[in-house]
Amino acid sequence: MKLIVKYNRAFFPVIIILLLIFSFVSYLFTKKVLQDEVDESLVRTEYRLTQFIDAHQELPVMVSFDDVRITIEPTNVPMSVRQIISTTLSVPGRAKNHPARVLIFTVKLKGVLHKISVLSPLEGVKTLTKTLLLIYLISFCLAFLILIFISRWILKRIWAPFYNSLKLVKEFKIDDNKVISFPVTEIEEFKEMNHNFESATTNAQNDYKRLKEFTENASHEIQTPLAVIRSKLNLLAQEDHLKESASLLLEDAFDAVTKLTNLNQSLLLLAKIENNQFLNKIKVNLSEALEAIIHRYQELWQNSNIGLMSQIDPVFVHAHNDLMDILLNNLISNATRHNVVGGQISIRLESGRLTIINTGRHKALDPDQLFGRFYKESANSNHNGLGLAIIKEICLASSFSVVYKYNEGMHTFCLEW
């Protein structure tokens, strides 16, 4: 649920109820005030009547004062105080009785007690209150709509820094070297939030950077002990009269050192690509580089009876020279290593695209894991499982796309830029 919806859901019923109550109270209040006005005019009429009676010592001739109707009748019950009550008034020609106020008082004239009722219809008041109620409701509805609009606008404005920050955090990439700068805001809460976001992202980036540097340094530091191990094994191999069993042990040790060396170099390369240490991009003659690599492999292919079909157009790319060499070598090495005796390799280099198709196992590689680190399709394979990860990283660093396809024993890697 969006914040604004949540806010409206909490806010609007209260506003509506309050507005309704307010309208109703206003209605009642207006009605009361107007009724009081009528009552007051009744009292004024009473005053004028008593004045008249006092002055003339006779009952006035019954003339109608506006809407006011006065009736005088003799009575036996004296009233000490006047009475004002609500009543109804029958209007000739209309079925419904109209509400009215009546003031009753008694006056003694020449020894005779008269009861005088002054009646004023509330018809005008009723219309007025009704109209007023309508005006109230309409203006309240308008006010309500305006309120909705304003609250929406204010919410949007007030929360704008929040949504901006959210967008920035969403776009944040830990391996990006860019420092996120959050927009300045006057709102204290958002200031604090942005501050925390900023320190969290910066810390994450720094930690990640340190980790990458650590990987690189660790790889470097491993090189020297590896060199020592290899050199000692080399010397050990020179010992006279080495037993056959010892030779086999040495062979295994040499193998392991080589594997570790390759692994370490691959990890170092990955760390360096990730650390953006291959920024020096130049115009690389891809066709030439590819042909040089093919030349290196030709002997190997002949040996395994692997047929080569190649079509290489002159292609130049803007990339890092070393990375391109590694990329092409890894692709060709991959197509060779996973090939079968008597198989095929097809290499097609054209403007903006390199396609390498090789025969291999009759099973597609797992496209989700293929480019992951340490991916091996069989447990006993001899490579370190980093070749494709390196291909992927180089493609990323060079803004190439790489796609793997499988079709009936043919494995295709297609690079586009």
Partner: protein, 225 residues
């Protein structure tokens, strides 16, 4: 031939010295910048094996110092750093070659040999072992008086063996030397067998004694004694 090994790791420098001494090289060792500088000023070396990261300084600085002294020592850089920039810096400042750790001692020996051949024999050099003679300049090989026809790989293989006479060389080291480590050949030794077989056959066919001895499991030994 006199060499200076500048390497701060004692274990590694000991191995290098031990291996190269057997190849009839005289080896001095320096473990830090100062020692290396003193030794370079004191005497002349045919080739300096130079580590880049050194206590008290940088191998590249040392290289610059050496060049400023107009010394003609050959220099091969050995470094844990694989970066191209280092390689270019190293070669640009006058090093003759660059080798990344961890290397095979046989490879180091072959590279030093190549530098010495290039610098001191001006490439005009004939190596003679018994009745085998290899003319480095013309790249031809004779058994007795007869020339034998070798492919490029076979020739490189022979030179590699000659640089590491009477040493057991592992199959891996040879493959790395001939094809590079990144070809993905590391477990495809059939490949090497074919070349070795051809080389032996050609040399043997012409009446040579069989120099190349198979060391079970490990590799080969070019025996001259």
């Amino acid at each position: 031939m006199k060499l200076l090994i500048v390497e701060d790791d004692k274990q590694l420098s000991e191995s290098i010295v031990k291996y190269l001494r057997q190849n009839n090289f005289l080896c001095d060792v320096a473990q830090d910048y100062q020692q290396a500088e003193d030794k370079l000023l004191d005497s002349d070396y045919d080739c300096v094996v130079l580590d880049i990261t050194l206590p008290g300084g940088n191998g590249l600085q040392l290289l610059a110092r050496l060049k400023s002294l107009n010394k003609s020592d050959g220099v091969i850089i050995i470094s844990a750093k694989h970066a191209l920039a280092d390689r270019i810096n190293g070669l640009g400042s006058g090093a003759d070659d660059y080798l990344t750790k961890p290397f095979h001692l046989a490879e180091l020996s072959a590279r030093i040999d190549a530098i010495i051949r290039r610098r001191f024999f001006n490439g005009k050099h004939v190596i003679t072992i018994k009745h085998l003679s290899v003319n480095i300049t013309d790249k031809n090989v004779k058994i007795g008086e007869d020339y034998i026809e070798l492919t490029r790989k076979e020739y490189e293989l022979l030179l590699y063996f000659i640089s590491n006479q009477n040493k057991v060389i592992t199959k891996e080291a040879i493959i790395e030397h001939l094809w590079g480590y990144d070809v993905g050949l590391s477990n495809n030794y059939d490949f090497l067998y074919a070349h070795i077989k051809n080389l032996r056959k050609k040399m043997f066919f012409e009446g040579s004694t069989d120099f190349i001895q198979v060391i079970y499991g490990l590799g080969y030994k070019f025996t001259t004694s």
